[in-house]
């Protein structure tokens, strides 16, 4: 990914927020639902699941982040080539990343893995199914 492009995109978001220009309507359209009951995330589509959980650490643009440690980028990440790997990581966690098996059902994990593998500069065509996720639990 072109670093200049990333920078420009971030700056735009920041400016919008700082200026309070983001209208309520625009926000509502983008916003994933908040969970109002139960132990599973309410969001159902790949994009909204990503925005509800993964984005907390991997960030909105999937570029990851750097502080005293780091969150890896999922954007353009070669390790996503085999769908089994992200399915395994989401179910079981990796280092500080908690296992998310309790927050997401099989269909949700399939949705979000398919989403990440086909966005953020990842272009993997094959899809993983809820049944395949269930087999890995």
């Amino acid at each position: 990914m072109n670093p200049l492009f990333t920078y420009a995109k971030r700056a735009t978001t920041a400016t919008l927020l700082a200026g309070g220009l983001l209208t309520a309507a625009a926000q509502a359209a983008d916003e994933p639902p908040m969970t109002l009951s139960g132990s599973k995330i309410a969001a159902q589509s790949g994009a909204t699941i990503y925005q509800s959980i993964c984005q907390a650490c991997h960030q909105a643009d999937a570029q990851g982040a750097q502080g005293a440690g780091f969150y890896p980028a999922l954007a353009g990440n070669m390790k996503l080539a085999a769908a089994d790997f992200p399915v395994y990581v989401v179910l079981n966690g990796q280092n500080g990343m908690p296992p998310l098996r309790g927050l997401l059902d099989d269909a949700q994990i399939a949705e979000v893995v398919n989403y990440v593998r086909s966005h953020f500069g990842n272009h993997y065509q094959d899809q993983v199914t809820a049944e395949q996720v269930a087999a890995k639990r």
């Binding site: 908040m34 132990s39 969150y71 500080g96």
Partner: protein, 533 residues
């Protein structure tokens, strides 16, 4: 233990160490009162007799790192701390007006609270039985005040119960207790427990239930004056020609049970939340500041550790100055590392496979907190809630009112949301800070409509976005298997390196865990060093 032979404790330890090894020596130290067998011993903790010119490097200036530094210095070691942040305390942290915080992802918040108002994004309360952390707070002269955990006049709320109208905690507690007493008394009277108890015992139990539940002479819980003394009156007793007191109508039993509101009355009964429970006056980081004052010139700030290496001669730690980008190295004889495992897992360090596996196996839990400033303390002025916690099943989970400055006429800051694990913790962390504040105001207004007109400004922290912890706490969880497999390997000394911190304790997500872990780690390290002399 009495020592009658005239040998000093140190000499005794030296002999045991040389003849019987480190494990035996550690046991002896426990008996001699150096290391803690009971957590109360934390108040008497002291090490003595560091071998001359022995240096110990500490990584991280949180509560664990500073406990280690303070005690090792007193024992005579030469001590230095490397700390990533620009100040001491780690998770022991307070945000006040003028402070800024930049989270992972780059969003920067500037706290705009009025002078004197604050918000603790992390630790906020200190139970009386956390002997270690209270010991240091008292030793360093940190002023403490009561933290109101249980407030009978605070609310319990759910949109799925009582038409979404908040009810008072005292009503939930009194009514739940009353109905349970009634049910039990009835079933005893109907002979359901005749097999369990003798007649005499049954009579005693029924008498106790009548008193415990405020039941009437028919063992019924209802709209009576004695119940009103628990749950509150419809009309309070007054003076002069004011109307006489009147009993209030209890909540409907079935709805109360189905609401699950009774869950809320257990929290304050747990030993970690029982009275007395405290907070430092002015913010939790008063403890961090007090620790730092005990360690002048010891802490190297803005130091991001990037590599940890040990060999026969000592330890060598590479770090980057986060201000100017300079790469630097620090050497010492031994190392106490308190960097959270979430981050340590990403730093190369040559320790054995068991410790390495342990570090890589510990996930970090999720939590978020929102601090909101309002133009006036409406919770006191309109709702008569002074400190304490209201509970809700909305995504904000709870609202906590400041346990300080009661009756103050100016602005006030409350905790407008505190999520712990579960979907909402991730959802709040995934938002921008502005969205978190906006959501907390939106949901809180369902309990306190005053939010709509009185909201002033806010700050919000999602702990996985905190650059120096990447999470709230080491999540050993209920999976005993994880602890069984890795906990001892995480805590055991590996060559010249020992780990300490909240994650190396059986008290996760409490500062007490950090203190006790540090005391225990340095006791074992000291034993090893002395034994090798």
């Amino acid at each position: 233990m009495e020592l009658t032979s005239g040998l000093t404790r140190r000499q005794v330890l030296g002999i045991i160490g040389k003849t019987a090894g480190v494990a035996a020596m550690y046991q002896a130290m426990t008996a001699l009162g150096y290391a803690g067998e009971s957590t109360e011993a934390a108040t008497r903790f002291a090490l003595h007799g560091a071998p001359k010119d022995t240096s110990i490097l500490i990584l991280g200036a949180g509560i664990a790192g500073m406990t280690a530094a303070y005690e090792l210095k007193k024992a005579g070691y030469s001590v230095k701390i490397l700390e990533y942040r620009e100040k001491a305390g780690g998770r022991c942290w307070t945000l006040r007006g003028g402070d800024t915080f930049t989270e992972l992802g780059g969003a920067t918040q500037k706290c705009e609270f009025d002078p004197g108002l604050y918000f603790n994004p992390g630790p906020w309360r200190l139970p009386y039985n956390h002997y270690g952390i209270l010991h240091y707070a008292k030793t360093f002269g940190v002023a403490l005040e009561p933290f109101i955990q249980v407030n009978y006049n605070a609310y319990v709320h759910s949109n799925k119960a009582f038409g979404g109208k908040p009810v008072r905690y005292r009503e939930v507690q009194a009514d739940y207790q009353g109905y349970m007493a009634e049910l039990l008394a009835k079933s005893i009277n109907q002979g359901a427990l005749d097999q369990e108890m003798t007649l005499q015992e049954r009579e005693m139990v029924i008498a106790s239930l009548k008193s415990w539940g405020a039941l009437d002479d028919n063992y019924h819980y209802g709209k009576t004056i004695s119940a009103a003394w628990r749950r509150g009156f419809e009309v309070n007793a007054g003076g002069g020609l004011m109307p006489p007191e009147a009993a209030s109508q209890p909540l409907a039993r079935r709805e109360l049970i189905e609401s699950a509101f009774w869950k809320r009355i257990i929290t304050g009964q747990l030993v970690e939340f029982q009275s007395s429970i405290f907070q430092p006056v002015g913010g939790m980081d008063m403890i961090a500041q007090a620790f730092a004052r005990q360690l002048p010139g010891t802490i190297r700030y803005n130091a991001k550790v990037t590599n940890i290496h040990q060999d026969e001669r000592g330890v060598s730690v590479q770090y980057t100055d986060t201000v100017n980008g300079q790469a630097l190295t620090e050497q010492a004889d031994y190392l106490v590392c308190t960097i959270p495992a979430s981050i340590l897992a990403q730093i190369p360090m040559n320790v054995g496979a068991p410790m390495q596996a342990a570090i890589h196996s510990l996930p970090y839990g999720a939590s978020s907190k929102v601090g909101l400033q309002f133009k006036r303390r409406f919770w006191e002025q309109d709702d008569f809630i002074y400190g304490g916690i209201s509970y809700t099943d909305l995504p904000i989970r709870s609202i906590s009112y400041p346990s300080t400055d009661y009756g103050h006429p100016g602005k006030g800051v409350l905790l407008g949301g505190y999520t712990w694990e579960g979907p909402n913790s991730y959802e709040f962390t995934a938002m921008t800070p502005a969205q978190r504040v906006q959501k907390a105001v939106e949901y809180g207004a369902q309990i306190h409509p005053q939010y709509k007109t009185e909201f002033d400004n806010g700050v919000a922290v999602g702990w996985h976005r905190v650059p120096w912890t990447q999470g709230c706490y080491g999540q050993w969880g209920d999976d005993e298997h994880l602890r069984e497999q890795h906990y001892k390997n995480l805590c055991d000394i590996d060559g010249r390196i020992v780990l300490a911190g909240e994650h190396c304790s059986h008290i996760p997500a409490w500062q007490e865990g950090a203190v006790l872990s540090a005391q225990d780690a340095i006791s074992r390290l000291h034993a090893k060093i002395v034994a090798q002399q």
